[in-house]
Each structure stands twice: as structure tokens, then as C-alpha cells.
């Protein structure tokens, strides 16, 4: 098993202390180190950017890449067009680098891993076996997988606060030629790939949050699937924000070379905190000729409490570039968490006959606000896109679908179908639809439909007459409403997502 266990980061504590010292007097606080965490000083400066780069052992070109993004970021303004409302973020009052000290050495057993982290994994439906692998428990790989589909493996990369804590199944993946590692490792080990593709889908100048991410991302996942390879297992990243006042800025880069295929899963959680925390991730996907990528997300960051205290501000830029002919991408997301969500996983359909799909469930309850959707940019001929969005608003929340479908003049004979449905639970919430449609050639066909309604009284009564209480009935009906999207999820996520729907709507009726 040895090689398939977690590859933990080695401690560099003394080095970092020295590094900070060398950066000058303004870091008079030095490292704030408590029992679990190691932080860079609060705030953002060029020196912090250099430090993050240094902590990751990055080459000079990478440091410069970050710095130019940082300088650009200083010139930019936070976007305000989304239907979300939150207090101004003080970007100097955040930690931009934190990592769990306990991850410096390899845990010997599950007991040594933060129980919260394990509980999180469990709640997300990661089988016990993989929890053990993730935690690097001795002999974990020889334990038969629970459940009866033991041939169904998922390789996991876990990002804890800013740092990748481990990746499973590395050896098996390597045999297939698949590279699955943390992005920091990829920058060191595969600079030619990173140089070629990083920022080629989401340029460092793309938008305020993406530019911030380009400057300060500390880790994330990197995937390269070589030509003709069908990735032998599903790949997965679990993101976890744990430290207080810490922004998480992970960067994911996925490259599917010609005729390659990969299914990628992403899960996110964060603990309860009274103060809001910032999360600004970037995901870039490059898909070459005849390749296909499926990217599924279950986003369950802490949503804040009933009064709207705390929670994650989730400002994420995700984009797939279907660069090759006949390339395909499918985004599936279940968004139940975060206090504020600002997220538009998009598809650039550049190759002829390329296809983009977007399936989304966004649930908001209490004081949550979500402004999410997608962009389908049709550039190639005979391109296809499909959008299925299901928004569910409860409590005092607001839920907005925002999307763009753009048919460029050369995207002849292309098609888009969009279906946006909103469901309202209670009379204090809001459901909004903001679609942009731009058609610049006549042979392309765009169809957009949207509906807004409430949970049907007759359906509720029918369920209750059969003995279900209101919450159970609502959960059942909402799951039915969102069925089309749930079905697009891989098995591992679908069950968990259904339960999340029920959990997210707790307290929304009665």
C-alpha cells in the first residue's frame, strides 16, 4: 500500500520564520502559531504574495506571475452587479495563508486526524476506507471497501485551509499516466504543463476575485489526463476552511488531453463561526479534441446562522474551455452552503461540435444569498449547450439565477436549451431569474424557459395524509423538483446531495 497513502507536506517551520524575518520589520508579529495552525501575518502586500510563493518552493516565473496579478488587483474594484448584499470586506483583515500544523507529519491513525475533518468526510459520504487512506492510516488500502461496488474507486485530494494535505491512489493513477496532485507540487514537478495552461482559461486579469486568487492562491488540485486515457477512477477534492479569519484561495487546473475522460468531484465544508469568511477559488478546465470532463460540486460551506451571522462568502470563478473539436464538459453543482454565493461555472465552446452542460441546484434558507448560474459562450460550429437550474428559496433568503447564452456569428447551427425553475417556500424569501441571451447568427437556436412557483398544496396534503410531517414532505417534493440535476451527479454524491437538500431546508416550514 505504501505509495498510495497520503503524501503529507513536510514541515518548513524554521524556514518560514527565517523567511519572514528576511522580509523586513513590518512583520513585527511574525508567525502567529497556535496549537493547530500556522499563519502568515494578516493583510495583503507584495511581501505576503512573495511569501506564499516561497512557502510553496515556487520558481521565479511563478512568483512574478502572482505579483503581476497582485498589482493588477490593486487597480480593480469589487463587482457589485450581483443580487447579493453584504458588509464591505476588509481585505487587509484576512489571513492569506494558514496551514494545519498537525499535517506536517503523517498521521499514524484516524485518532490523530481532526475529528471534525473526519466527521465532515463522513457526512459527505466518503467511505470509511477512503477516510483512512486520506488520513494515511496503516494498511488502509488492504481493507476491502465498504459497499458492494469495490471496483468503484475515488482518488481524493484534500485541501485543508490553504494547503493540500494529501492525495490518495497516486501510484495507481501514475500507472495510467494520470497526474493528480496538488497544484503546488505541479508547479514544481510539471512546470511545462502549468506554464502552458495556468491562466489560459481564467486569465489573471479576469475579474476582481480571480485576480486576487491568482496573486494569493496557496494550493489546490492539478489534474492532467494524457491523450486517449480514460481516468481509471473518479477524482475528488475536499476543501475545508478551518482557521478563523482565513481566506481560502484554492486553484484547480484540469487538463483533458485529446480523447481523455475524467470525472471530478469537489466537496466543501467549513465549521461554524460568528464572523464571515472569504473563499475565492478559481477552477480552470482545458478540454482538447474528443475529450470529456465532468465536474461535480457539492458546496456545503457554513451558511451562517438564522440571524445571518457568520458563514462563508463564496466568490468563485469556474470556467471550462472546450478548446478541441467534439470536446465535452458537464458542470453539476449542488449549492446548499455559504452565506453569500457568487458563482458562474461557465463553458467556452470553442471547438466545433463541442458541448457544454450545466446542472444546478441552489438552495438558500434563513439569510443566505445566492447569485449563481452559468455562461455558455458558443464560438464553434454545431456546438450544443444545455442549462438546467433549480433554485429553492426558503426563510428570508434570496436566490438568483444569472446566466448568459451567447451565440457568436461563427457558431452556426448551434443549439442551446435553458430551463430555470424556482421554488419558493414561505413568503419572506425571494427568487430571481436574470438570463442574458445574445444570438448573432440565424442558424442557431436558443430556447429559454423559466418558471417560479411554490410547493403545491395538494402534493403537501397527499404526502401528509400518507403520514409524512411537513419537513419530510417538503424535502421529498423538493428532491423531486430537483431530480433532473440530482440524476446528473455521480452516485457517490447523489445520495448525499439528497440528504443535504433535507438538512438545508430544516426549519423552513411550520
Amino acid at each position: 500500500m505504501a505509495d498510495d497513502t497520503m503524501v503529507a507536506k513536510e514541515g518548513v517551520e524554521q524556514e518560514t520564520v527565517d523567511a519572514v524575518k528576511s522580509l523586513g520589520d513590518k512583520y513585527k508579529y511574525g508567525w502567529e502559531t497556535d496549537i493547530e495552525m500556522e499563519y502568515a501575518p494578516k493583510g495583503l502586500t507584495e511581501d505576503i504574495v512573495r511569501l506564499i510563493s516561497q512557502k510553496n518552493d515556487e520558481p521565479e516565473w511563478m512568483t512574478e506571475w502572482r505579483l503581476s496579478a497582485y498589482r493588477r488587483w490593486l487597480q480593480m474594484e469589487e463587482p457589485d452587479w450581483a443580487m447579493v448584499d453584504y458588509p464591505e470586506i476588509n481585505f487587509q483583515d484576512q489571513y492569506y495563508y494558514a496551514r494545519p500544523k498537525s499535517m506536517e507529519t503523517k498521521p499514524k491513525s484516524l485518532d490523530e486526524v481532526d475529528p471534525k475533518l473526519l466527521a465532515t468526510y463522513e457526512k459527505l459520504g466518503i467511505p470509511l476506507k477512503e477516510q483512512m487512506i486520506l488520513a494515511g492510516v496503516e494498511g488502509a488500502d488492504e481493507v476491502p471497501a465498504d459497499g458492494n461496488n469495490s471496483d468503484r474507486k475515488v482518488a481524493v485530494d484534500a485541501v485543508f485551509d490553504s494547503v493540500s494535505v494529501g492525495t490518495t491512489f497516486k501510484k495507481e493513477l501514475e500507472q495510467a499516466g494520470v497526474i493528480f496532485c496538488s497544484i503546488s507540487e505541479a508547479i514544481r514537478e510539471h512546470p511545462e504543463l502549468v506554464k502552458k495552461y495556468l491562466g489560459s482559461v481564467v486569465p489573471p486579469t479576469d475579474n476582481f476575485y480571480a485576480t486576487l486568487n491568482s496573486a494569493v492562491f496557496s494550493d489546490g488540485s492539478f489534474v492532467y489526463i494524457p491523450p486517449g486515457v480514460r481516468c481509471p477512477m473518479e477524482l475528488s477534492t475536499y476543501f475545508r476552511i478551518n482557521a478563523e479569519n482565513t481566506g481560502q484561495f484554492e486553484r484547480t487546473l484540469i487538463i483533458a488531453d485529446k480523447e481523455a475522460y475524467v470525472s471530478y468531484l469537489e466537496g466543501c465544508t467549513a465549521p461554524q463561526r460568528d464572523t464571515a469568511q472569504l473563499h475565492a477559488a478559481v477552477v480552470e478546465i482545458v478540454i482538447l479534441d474528443d475529450a470529456e470532463v465532468k465536474y461535480s460540486t457539492v458546496q456545503n460551506w457554513y451558511p451562517g446562522d438564522e440571524e445571518g451571522r457568520g458563514g462563508i462568502y463564496n466568490f468563485v470563478t469556474k470556467r471550462a474551455d472546450c478548446r478541441g473539436d467534439r470536446s465535452k464538459v458537464m458542470w453539476t453543482q449542488v449549492e446548499t452552503g455559504s452565506a453569500v454565493t457568487w458563482k458562474y461555472p461557465s463553458c467556452v465552446l470553442r471547438g466545433d461540435e463541442s458541448q457544454g452542460e450545466f446542472y444546478s441546484i441552489a438552495i438558500t434558507n434563513n439569510m443566505q444569498q445566492a447569485d449563481t448560474g452559468t455562461k455558455m459562450t458558443h464560438l464553434g460550429k454545431n456546438t450544443r449547450s444545455r442549462i438546467v437550474s433549480k433554485g429553492i428559496s426558503a426563510g428570508k433568503s434570496n436566490n438568483t439565477y444569472r446566466g448568459l447564452v451567447s451565440m457568436h456569428p461563427k457558431a452556426t447551427n448551434s443549439r442551446n436549451y435553458t430551463q430555470c425553475d424556482s421554488l419558493l417556500i414561505g413568503d419572506q424569501c425571494g427568487a430571481h431569474t436574470v438570463p442574458y441571451i445574445e444570438v448573432k447568427n440565424p442558424s442557431s437556436r436558443v430556447e429559454h424557459e423559466a418558471t417560479t412557483s411554490k410547493v403545491d398544496d395538494d402534493q403537501m396534503f397527499y404526502c401528509r395524509q400518507r403520514g409524512m410531517d411537513e419537513e419530510e414532505a417538503v424535502a421529498l417534493i423538493v428532491n423531486g423538483f430537483a431530480k433532473e440535476v440530482l440524476q446528473a451527479l455521480p452516485m457517490e454524491f447523489a445520495m448525499e446531495a439528497q440528504q443535504l437538500v433535507a438538512i438545508s431546508l430544516e426549519g423552513s416550514v411550520g
Binding site: C463, Q465, R466, D469, L476
Partner: protein, 250 residues
């Protein structure tokens, strides 16, 4: 089993009195039929007993085994053993029939403090019962009542009844929209559930259903109350002479 006394009910939205002092008792083990012309309040009775919103009880009581039904939420009445076979079963897109039934079965078991039924056991039981009602596997997988024919919907209601094993079953115009074969199938399903511990209240407009489900008592309902009760032959009398005579004498 079911005891209704002097029940007065009005429609909240229209402030219109529908039930005007209805009294009725269905002992365990008996099948009672309620017949009556359109608009006599038959469906209202089934909705009020099962706890649908929109009706206001202005007077009277309704109890199931001595428990005040009117105080309970719809799901509590279900857990107490009351089952309504809907005249128009509701379609729930996206929710599989099996998922629906399993959720219902386990919700009721939980409410009664019983253990939940395991997936395997549930599957075994439902397959057997579905077979009796000629419900194929495909119908179990499809979303609840969506795209079902009239007959399929009614058979599905009886399947739910069989799975939930209620104490008191109310069948609201279960015969409506059924052809002869479907009626026979549904009636056989109901008859199979008849036993000494279970009561039935069969609401129907026509006598023909009562050829298949033979009642112990027939009540004639008009203008919000029971105007006459009798044996199974009372239904035949109505079939022959219509409601007009009865309404006049009442």
C-alpha cells in the same frame, strides 16, 4: 372505530356551510358506504376527516378509537391509522413511487415508535403486494401518479393502503373513472384487506362498486347530513329509484 357526531363544516374561502350536523359510526370490522347526489358534501367529509386545509369545523366531533381526530395534523391522523384513497390522486413529478411509499411507511412507523422497515424488507413486501394488484415494476419506479392512467392511479392508492395497513380506510369515489376490469381489481384489493380490526368508509355516487365491495351498512347523504341508513339493499333501492324520492321524504 370511527365516530362522527353532529359535524358542522364550512368552506373557509367561501364561508359556505357544507356539512350540517352529520353523525356516523363505523365499528371495527365493518364496511359502511356513503351514497349521495353530487354536492351533498361526500368529498368534504373525506377531506375534513383526513385534515385538509381550507375547511373550518364549526361544531361537532370526529374520533378514531376515541382519539380526537380534529385536533391532529394530517400526518398525525395518518399515523393514528386513518387512510384516504383520493378521488383524484395527486401527481408528484420527480419523486419515485417507491421512494414516496417507503418514506410514508417509515414516517408512520417512526411516529408510532416502531422500527423503520429496511430497504430489503420493504422491497420484498411491496413487490408481493404490487403483484396482487397487477402493478408492474415500472409503475413502482415512475414518479408518483405522473403519467398514470385513471385505473393505475386508483390501483396505486390501494397499493399504498395495503402497504400502510391503516385501521380506518376512507375510499373517496374510488370507482370514478374505472372500467369494469379495473373496478374488479381494485375491489379485490380492498376486499383482501377487510378484517375484523379494520373499518371502511366507502364513498360513492353509484351502486355498482357496492356489488364488488359489499357493505354492512349503507348511508344516504344529502345536503350535508345522513338522511337515511340501511342494509346493502338500500343501495339497490337508490340505484332503481334515484335519489329524488329519498330527498323528498327527508
Amino acid at each position: 372505530m370511527l365516530k362522527i357526531e353532529n359535524l358542522h363544516v364550512k368552506l373557509e374561502a367561501e364561508d359556505k356551510q357544507i356539512l350540517k350536523g352529520l353523525s356516523l359510526e363505523v365499528p371495527a370490522g365493518e364496511v359502511h358506504a356513503i351514497m349521495g347526489p353530487n354536492g351533498s358534501g361526500k368529498s368534504t367529509l373525506s377531506y375534513v376527516l383526513s385534515g385538509k386545509d381550507g375547511y373550518e369545523v364549526t361544531d361537532g366531533t370526529a374520533t378514531l378509537e376515541g382519539n380526537d381526530l380534529l385536533e391532529l395534523e394530517a400526518e398525525e391522523r395518518a399515523a393514528a391509522g386513518l387512510f384516504l384513497a383520493f378521488q383524484y390522486p395527486v401527481e408528484i413529478p420527480g419523486v419515485g413511487n417507491m421512494t414516496f411509499l417507503r418514506t410514508a411507511v417509515n414516517a408512520q412507523r417512526k411516529a408510532r415508535g416502531e422500527e423503520e422497515m429496511s430497504a430489503a424488507e420493504f422491497l420484498k413486501v411491496i413487490r408481493a403486494k404490487a403483484k396482487d394488484l397487477k402493478i408492474d415494476a415500472d409503475m413502482l419506479k415512475r414518479p408518483v401518479n405522473v403519467g398514470f392512467s385513471g385505473g393505475e392511479k386508483k390501483r396505486n392508492e390501494i397499493l399504498q393502503m395495503a402497504m400502510l395497513e391503516p385501521k380506518m380506510c376512507i375510499l373517496d369515489e374510488t370507482d370514478s373513472g374505472l372500467d369494469v376490469d379495473a373496478m374488479k381489481l381494485v375491489s379485490d384489493g380492498v376486499n383482501a384487506l377487510r378484517d375484523e380490526n379494520r373499518g371502511f368508509l366507502v364513498i360513492t355516487h353509484y351502486q355498482r362498486l357496492l356489488d364488488h365491495i359489499v357493505p354492512d351498512v349503507v348511508h344516504i347523504m344529502a345536503n350535508g347530513k345522513i338522511i337515511k341508513s340501511g342494509g346493502a339493499d338500500l343501495a339497490l333501492e337508490v340505484e332503481k329509484n334515484g335519489y329524488a324520492d329519498l330527498l323528498e321524504t327527508a
